[in-house]
């Protein structure tokens, strides 16, 4: 059965790693729902947050293949209940009259969105939250004339601190998992 997975990959900050990671997906004809690459608090380490819908019997094989890439330091996957996650969206809404503007700001306010920017005849509304919240906001703003809309990929924080630090410690100095930890990494068909 297909499930939604948030894959978190920590890598060295090298040329070509993005390419190397994405070909793992394209080769298997996996559609990437969203992809975010960012710097981390560790120097020279990047964080990839990749969201896919994928077969639960195959996800572990995919993770094992990503782990094999040289330059990948850590990789693990999470189901939605294992991470706190969100996205950010911007909506450019035309506000030709003062009343229009009042209405739009009112909607934004009710939905915990904020006015990020305003110009003479439009405002930019910023909304962070889950996929559904963002689409609700879009839905409500649409009648007022959304002329431009964009949404970021998902970013996610791992809820279980123990689970995260178990992986994260392998990013530290030179070297990697101990033999024991390496054996303990999940395998396809075994958890």
């Amino acid at each position: 059965m297909k499930r939604r997975y948030t894959i978190i990959v920590f890598t060295e900050n090298n040329f070509g790693l993005l390419n190397r990671i994405t070909i793992i997906f394209s080769r298997r004809r996996i559609n990437i729902e969203s992809l975010t690459v960012s710097e981390t608090e560790r120097k020279g380490v990047s964080r990839f947050t990749i969201v896919i819908d994928y077969d639960e019997t195959k996800i572990q094989k995919l993770i094992q293949q990503i782990r094999k890439i040289i330059g990948v330091l850590v990789v693990f996957h999470n189901e939605d209940d294992q991470v706190f996650f969100g996205q950010i969206a911007y909506f450019k809404v035309i506000t030709s009259s003062f009343e229009e503007r009042e209405k739009v700001m009112e909607i934004a306010h009710r939905h915990q969105a904020k006015i990020a920017f305003s110009a003479g005849d439009y405002v930019v509304i910023e909304k962070t939250g889950k996929e559904e919240d963002i689409s609700t906001t879009l839905h409500l703003l649409e009648p007022h004339g959304v002329v431009e809309y964009c949404k970021s990929g998902r970013i996610a924080i791992v809820k279980d601190q123990h689970r995260f630090s178990k992986y994260a410690k392998n990013m530290d100095p030179e070297g990697w998992y101990s033999d024991e930890e390496f054996h303990e990494l999940p395998l396809n068909g075994k958890h």
Binding site: G16, K68, Y177, E180, L187
Partner: protein, 587 residues
């Protein structure tokens, strides 16, 4: 002295590479590359020059007595030669090529090395950095091409990176599960002087890269328990046994446990074929007994193999009754195709050494009898018929049988891809390890001729015999020139059936005899060889078979023996694609 004999002599005296005295000197990027290769113990390079790699070739000129460079006739030949060399010499093979077409010509061989876990290091020249991305003359984005088919690749634009990157490349290529790496070096990085004096340090680890780990005690005891209680245990040998040089450990393990042993295509020669426990080859054209009994075994221990689809056939019916102990160095192989009961992530040698003291001494006579019974059936229905040679009807299998007899199972057999490959795999006898090279994973036609040449470079003392189909031969036939120029006595057998035989077989069996573009009208191979300066003869009659094989084997120089074989013979047994291993057909 001819170039050929000079080359042959140079190879004969190799070994004591003179040290260079450039440490702590300022050198150019090109020279740094050459020095780094020397530091890695490289003494052999296969390559082809061109514009973007000229500074490196210029540096090489000064070191031509230390680094023996062979000029191949096509870059694909360089990669396969490097593969053959790597496997026989036991260290990474090195290729040089220029940018653009030079680099793209490497691609097939790199993909081949990737699938068969062969350590090769490819160095490509690249246009100067300022031309990158401008569609400059002979600019190809080789990094993007190489990414999915290399274990690692890297583009160098700063000369100072060269020693560090070469060290990293060699470490990656040979450690863990070996594989190909590629270093692309811009022309400026080749020309420029290093800012820091040359210093070389071998790599021992890389952040985030875990090439190998020790077997875990808990897994070893679980595996031993399964094996000790098994009634019908079965062991599969893969290429990993050869890569980790675990042949002796395997032998000791088998002598103690008495488990029947089958080999994958790439595992051949890791275990002696005349050993009483050896039951044959697995897979699509493997032997009858091991395929059938895969689905009867209660415990399977696979060592250094990856349950490739050519081995397993239909996974849904594959070894469902068996508990599987999967020994592999590559974490990503665990559960990829077959879910193991005991995943034993370790180097084959270490795993076998750890298992040996904890497995019980055992006898499995009745289980062996089951293999014997099925073998006898295969013998009656297939093997006996394969060993026929009457008048002008020579069968491939009979050629291989006689070749094996004459070489006493001691030669290195390098097989190309097709029916002749399967015949060679099925009927070669191996008494010595590292005696079999072929393109297994990619099935690259044209592999054998350059690979045989590389193998001879890597193991000059061994008899190397290439077994090639008439189709395959014409894919890399130009490497006859390389062989002639080197003066090395590579022995070449072309099994000529005037067909792309393996494809014809499929068309006959699965496409209702529609022979769609598989017939070849061939050139006179002997005349071609002579044109390259290589002697040869054509054998068309059974009466001449022995004598012509003797001439081939006794020749002190490279020699081509073309044997005209039956046109439309099929290779059996066969597991039709998509079927289960026990659906294997004898006819």
């Amino acid at each position: 002295m001819s170039i050929a004999t000079e080359n042959a002599q140079k190879i004969a005296v190799k070994g004591n590479t003179p040290k260079h005295d450039k440490t702590n000197k300022i050198v150019s990027g090109s020279e740094a590359l050459i020095l780094s290769l020397i530091e890695e113990g490289v003494d052999t390079i296969f390559g082809y020059p061109g514009g973007a790699i000229m500074p490196i070739y210029d540096a090489l000129y000064h070191y031509r007595h230390v680094l023996n460079h062979t000029l191949v006739r096509h870059e694909q030949g360089a990669t396969h030669a490097a593969e053959g060399y790597a496997q026989m010499a036991g260290k990474p093979g090195v290729c040089f090529a220029t940018s653009g077409p030079g680099a793209t010509n490497l691609i097939t061989g790199i993909a081949d090395a990737m699938l068969d876990s062969v350590p090769i290091v490819c160095i490509t020249g690249q246009v100067p950095e300022k031309f990158l991305g401008t569609d400059a003359f002979q600019e190809t984005d080789v990094m993007s091409l190489a990414m999915p088919i290399t274990k690692w690749c890297y583009q160098v634009a700063d000369a100072d990176e060269i020693p560090y990157i070469v060290a990293k490349a060699f470490y990656i290529a040979r450690s863990g599960r070996p594989g190909p790496v590629l270093i692309d070096i811009t022309k400026c990085a080749q020309f420029n002087q290093l800012k820091k004096p040359f210093k070389y340090e071998k790599r021992r680890q890389i952040k985030g890269y875990k090439p190998a780990c020790k077997p875990r005690e808990k897994d070893i005891s679980k595996a031993a328990e399964l094996l000790n209680n098994a009634k019908r245990p079965f062991l599969f040998v893969g290429h990993g046994v050869l890569l980790s040089k675990a042949e002796k450990d395997l032998l000791a393990f088998i002598e103690k446990t008495d488990i029947p042993v089958a080999s994958t295509l790439l595992g051949l020669s890791a275990f002696p074929t005349d050993h009483p426990n050896y039951v044959g080859m697995l897979g699509m054209h493997g032997n009858y007994a091991p395929n059938k009994l895969t689905n009867k075994a209660d415990v399977i221990i696979s060592v250094g193999m990856r349950f490739d689809d050519r081995v397993t056939g239909n996974l849904d019916t594959y070894a469902k009754q068996a508990k599987i102990i999967h020994v592999d160095i590559d974490h990503a192989e665990m559960g990829k195709n077959v879910t193991p009961t005991v995943p034993l992530i370790a180097d084959a040698k270490e795993a076998l050494q750890a298992l040996l003291p904890v497995v019980n001494e055992n006898k499995h006579e009745s289980w062996h009898l089951e293999f014997k019974k099925l073998h006898d059936e295969e013998y009656e229905k297939v093997i006996k018929k394969d060993f026929q040679a009457e008048g002008e009807h020579i069968k491939m299998a009979e050629v291989i049988r006689r070749l094996s007899e004459k070489t006493d199972g001691e030669a290195v057999i390098v097989a190309d891809v097709g029916q002749h490959q399967m015949s060679a795999a099925r009927y070669s006898k191996f008494r010595r390890t590292d005696s079999w090279l072929t393109s297994g994973g990619l099935g690259t036609m044209g592999y054998a001729l350059p690979s045989a040449f590389g193998a001879k470079m890597g193991a000059p003392d061994r008899e190397v015999v290439a077994v090639i189909g008439d189709g395959c031969f014409q894919m890399t036939i130009q490497e006859l020139g390389t062989i002639a120029q080197s003066g090395l006595p590579v022995k070449i057998i072309v099994l000529n059936n005037n067909f792309l035989g393996m494809v014809r077989q499929w068309q006959q069996l699965f496409f209702d005899n529609r022979y769609s573009f598989v017939e070849l009208s061939n050139p006179d191979f002997i005349t071609i060889a002579k044109g390259f300066g290589i002697n040869g003869q054509r054998c068309t009659h059974t009466d001449d078979l022995d004598a012509s094989l003797d001439t081939l084997l006794n020749s002190k120089e490279a020699y081509l023996l073309e044997i005209v074989v039956e046109k439309e013979t099929n290779v059996f047994p066969m597991v039709p694609s998509g079927m289960g291993v026990d659906d294997i057909r004898l006819e």
